[in-house]
């Protein structure tokens, strides 16, 4: 049984992982056959399936990190996630669903700090042995349809 404290703890660790720049650890929050997608409220409302990032395997998340580290070019920056309270839905056969609002500030190398994204995580959590619950699915629904410059680090 996955409870609110389990999910809040996992969310907090997830946010700290990205904000600390430990991208290599980020895929570890997901199950092997996970879904991870970043979209916008409008696309979500209209049922459009595309994503800014669209992954349906842990391998694709690891590839994303490798590309950010080794291939892609972008100015150095960091995020600060501020998470709201998760709203837990009743657990179903496929796991426990939650919805969690977020704010993400982006801090550029020159110190400029902007509100980069607001939105909500639509999550499906499953137990992973005795360890903390993991994400079977995370749909990141950004409120705005605009992305400033580029989206490199995951949300």
């Amino acid at each position: 049984m996955i409870g609110l404290p389990d999910i809040m703890a996992a969310q907090a660790r997830y946010a700290r992982c990205i904000d600390d720049g430990r991208l290599e650890d980020w895929p570890g929050f997901f199950l092997p056959d996970c879904v991870y997608r970043i979209t916008t409220a409008e696309n979500h409302r209209l049922g459009f399936a595309a994503g800014l990032i669209w992954a349906d395997s842990l391998g694709m998340l690891q590839d994303r990190v490798a590309a950010l580290r080794e291939a892609n070019i972008y100015e150095r920056h960091a995020y600060r996630h501020v998470l709201g309270l998760p709203l837990l839905e009743e657990a179903g056969a496929d796991g426990t669903r939650s919805e969690t609002p977020f704010l993400v500030a982006r801090i550029m190398r020159d110190g400029a700090t902007d509100l980069f994204a607001t939105g909500r995580y639509l999550d499906l959590w499953r137990a992973d042995g005795d360890g903390p619950p993991k994400l079977a699915e995370r749909i990141v629904v950004c409120d705005s349809s605009r992305v400033d410059t580029l989206l490199a680090l995951p949300l």
């Binding site: 399936a49 800014l52 395997s57 391998g59 590839d63 080794e70 291939a71 349809s145 605009r146 989206l151």
Partner: protein
């Protein structure tokens, strides 16, 4: 080259350095910086003798469907009427100038301005004025007021393979002529006879002048140098051929690369890399899930990449199975909105649709082979501060703006400037 039939450019002050009239290989940085240039572009380029993309026909399939857009900064509505035709008119009430439609898209029986409830039909004709005859014989519009004398400005529209274009100009050539046969053919190659379906829409706010983005789109030279994804993961195809088409005006282009089947056959015969045509003998970086690139040859011609641009601000993209249209909208001298509309077709097999979704990862603001394009324009915009009297050098591949078999050239960037200067009279 300057078109001397145009009136002298209405710049507020002389340029910091003259733009050499006899070459396409120099571009002064002041064109990316000056507010007077940006203002002139809106009238001479976007509202001038050009065709501008508004939306997809598939986005307004039924009578009353509309989409709001802008053209040269001017708010525009594209509307499907009951006769099946698409009409475009300025989204501005003829009464006091308020926006007629406030939503970005929707379906309407008619348009009614919220301010004083003046109403318009789906072709943009003024059809109703609230309290026109006054109330109890008091007030109302004067006898001589004729609704027909007050109409929003209408735009010419044209539909090409499901793409809706509009023009504010009465003198722009017909769209087919404007695009030219080669460009038209390659639009048809992707969209012809198909029923496109939107699978996503995203807006990328670029920190640079719009011309730096449209240059980048036409710049086949930078592709393998700035975008290291394919190289890092050693995904470059061994046997590729490609080229560049620049139309006569210079403003429209196609850059493409395709699998060279002959070379591929030779490679296979030599039994080199027999198992696959992807180079992978020494890679230290490999994709853990290479399914992202397991695309299919849906057009049956081996073309894995086709980037097509139409002057001034339209792009049609095929990168493997990732299809998108991009609309470039200036928002001042150093801001640009890039609107991405990702496409599939109604008859996509589930496998093909899934591939399109996976290949979302290649393009857009987070794209493996495109995220750099979101920031590199900003690097130029910031780099050229204080350098208004200096010029960019465009000599790769010579000095002309002609079609070529190589992509190691800046021919289509020069082509853009050829068309731009003709429209601007600069």
């Amino acid at each position: 080259m300057p078109d001397h039939s145009l009136p002298a450019p209405a710049l507020a002050a002389p340029p910091e350095v003259p733009w050499p009239a006899d070459t396409l290989t120099r571009v002064p940085y002041w064109v990316f910086q000056r507010a007077d240039v940006a203002a002139l572009e809106q009238t001479r380029v976007f509202r001038g003798d050009t065709w501008n993309y508004l939306c997809l026909e598939a986005e307004i399939p039924d009578a009353g469907d509309y989409r709001a857009s802008t053209l040269g900064g001017v708010p525009i509505l594209a509307v499907r009427d009951h006769d099946g035709e698409i009409y475009a008119f300025e989204n501005r009430c003829v009464h006091r100038g308020a926006l007629i439609a406030l939503e970005d898209f929707g379906n309407a029986r008619e348009f009614t301005c919220v301010y004083h409830a003046w109403s318009y039909d789906l072709q943009g004709n003024l059809k109703g004025v609230a309290f026109k005859d006054g109330i109890n014989g008091q007030g109302g519009m004067p006898e001589c007021f004729r609704m027909s004398d007050h109409q929003p400005r209408k735009l010419r529209t044209a539909v090409v393979a499901g793409l809706v274009f509009a023009s504010a100009s009465d003198t722009v050539p017909p769209i087919e002529e404007y695009l030219g046969e080669q460009i038209l053919e390659r639009i048809e190659r992707v969209l012809g006879g198909r029923k496109p379906e939107v699978i996503g829409r995203f807006t990328q706010a670029l920190p640079n002048n719009w011309k730096l983005y449209v240059e980048n789109v036409r710049d086949s030279y930078h592709a393998s140098l700035l975008h290291l994804f394919f190289t890092t993961f050693e995904l470059n195809k061994l046997s590729q051929k490609g080229g560049l088409i620049v139309d006569e005006s210079g403003g429209n282009h196609v850059s493409y690369s395709a699998i060279d089947r002959e070379a591929e056959a030779k490679v296979a015969a030599a039994n080199e890399y027999a198992a696959q045509n992807i180079r992978s003998e020494s890679g230290s970086y490999r994709l853990k899930d290479p399914s992202v690139l397991a695309g299919m040859d849906e057009f049956g011609d081996g073309v894995t990449l086709q980037i097509l641009s139409v002057f001034p601000g339209f792009v049609l993209q095929q990168i493997q199975n990732s299809l998108a249209v991009r609309q470039v909208v200036p928002r001042g001298t150093d801001r640009t909105d890039l609107h991405w509309t990702y496409l599939g077709f109604k008859d996509d097999t589930p496998e093909l649709r899934r591939m399109r979704l996976k290949q979302c990862n290649l393009v857009g603001p987070a794209g493996y082979v495109s995220m750099e394009d979101g920031c590199v324009g900003g690097f130029v915009q910031r780099g050229v501060v204080g350098a208004s009297d200096r010029m960019a050098v465009l000599e790769m591949g010579g000095s002309d703006a002609e079609s070529t078999r190589t992509r190691a050239t800046e021919a289509s960037v020069r082509g853009f400037w050829k068309a731009y200067r003709a429209h601007m009279g600069l």
